[in-house]
Amino acid sequence: MTRVLAVAAAALALAGPAAACANPKTSLSYLEGQIMCPTCHTTLDMSEAPAAQAIKAQISRRIAECWSAKQIETELVGNFGQGILAAPPHKGFDLLAWWLPLGGVLGGALLLAVGVWRWSRTQEPEPPETEHETDPETERRLDELLARLD
């Protein structure tokens, strides 16, 4: 009888969260890549630290309560601060983290393009020299010389 009750209790415990949210709005595997472990400074999916385990358990609870990824992230930011997010937010000063690398790549590409363009200009062949016109006297002497050779 005790065993039956224990099994029933375990089944209820397992079924409880599932019944609470039939269609979860997000998944633990997704959020594990978005949230940092505060004590080891890696994402949750890379950490087995106790603090990471506690956060994973909290995320699982919230997923079972049908919370969205955004809601869970907001709660965690309230609890642990902005540093809990793996990616900086798309606003304010943090925008720099998104735009600076892009600006760097574009700036580098521009510099490279200008450099290549300038280099290619210096490699262009010199225009051929114009033929020197010979004066009639020189022409006559040349003809004489050539006639002598014949």
Binding site: P38, A54, N79
Partner: protein, 180 residues
């Protein structure tokens, strides 16, 4: 023109290297270390874990203070909790303040921990770790500081106070903090 472009590029590269070096120096200069015994305990104001309001460490000046850093996910903190509660019950009438600082913790878990272990001394939460890591240089819990009435650190125990080597040190430190 080509020459000016080249010089400009070199200047930009030099500026980038200088900026990176400056960043490295700044980072090294601002590395957090645990405050030394005899130094003033870094002050802080943190929200209470259970109930509204905040606790300002500076407001406890004039009292000996036991500052215990803990987390619900920390194994040794569980065994330490009962000892701390017993010490609090023993010393509170003698004017010693105890403050538990919950570090990098899920608030719900921390509250359950407090309830499960019957902890009654004031608790604050430091979810971001700004005070615990930032001002006290702590990266692992539990750790305990005993602060004298003048605000100076009397002892720093890096580990659970339940270990035999620390238990006597903890008791002696509280006595010293009450005198200082």
């Amino acid at each position: 023109m080509t020459r000016s472009l080249k010089v400009g590029g070199q200047l930009v590269a030099l500026a980038a290297v200088a900026a990176l070096l400056a960043l490295l120096v700044w980072r090294l200069a601002h590395q957090q270390h645990a405050p030394k015994v005899g130094a003033k305990a870094p002050v802080f104001t943190l929200d209470r874990l259970t109930g509204p309001g905040a606790i300002d460490l500076a407001s406890l000046r004039g009292k000996a203070v036991v500052l215990n850093f803990w987390a619900s996910w920390c194994g040794p903190c569980k065994s330490e909790a009962k000892v701390l509660e017993r010490a609090w019950q023993r010393y509170r009438s003698q004017g010693v303040a105890f403050v538990g600082v919950d570090y990098h913790d899920v608030t719900g878990d921390a509250r359950r921990f407090v309830a499960a272990h019957g902890l009654t001394f004031p608790m604050v939460e430091d979810g971001s770790g700004d005070v615990t890591s930032g001002r006290y240089g702590i990266s692992q819990v539990p750790e305990t500081y005993v602060v004298g009435r003048t605000g100076k650190i009397v002892v720093h125990i890096a580990g659970p106070i339940t270990s035999p080597s620390f238990a006597t040190e903890f008791r002696d430190a509280i006595a010293a903090a009450m005198r200082s």
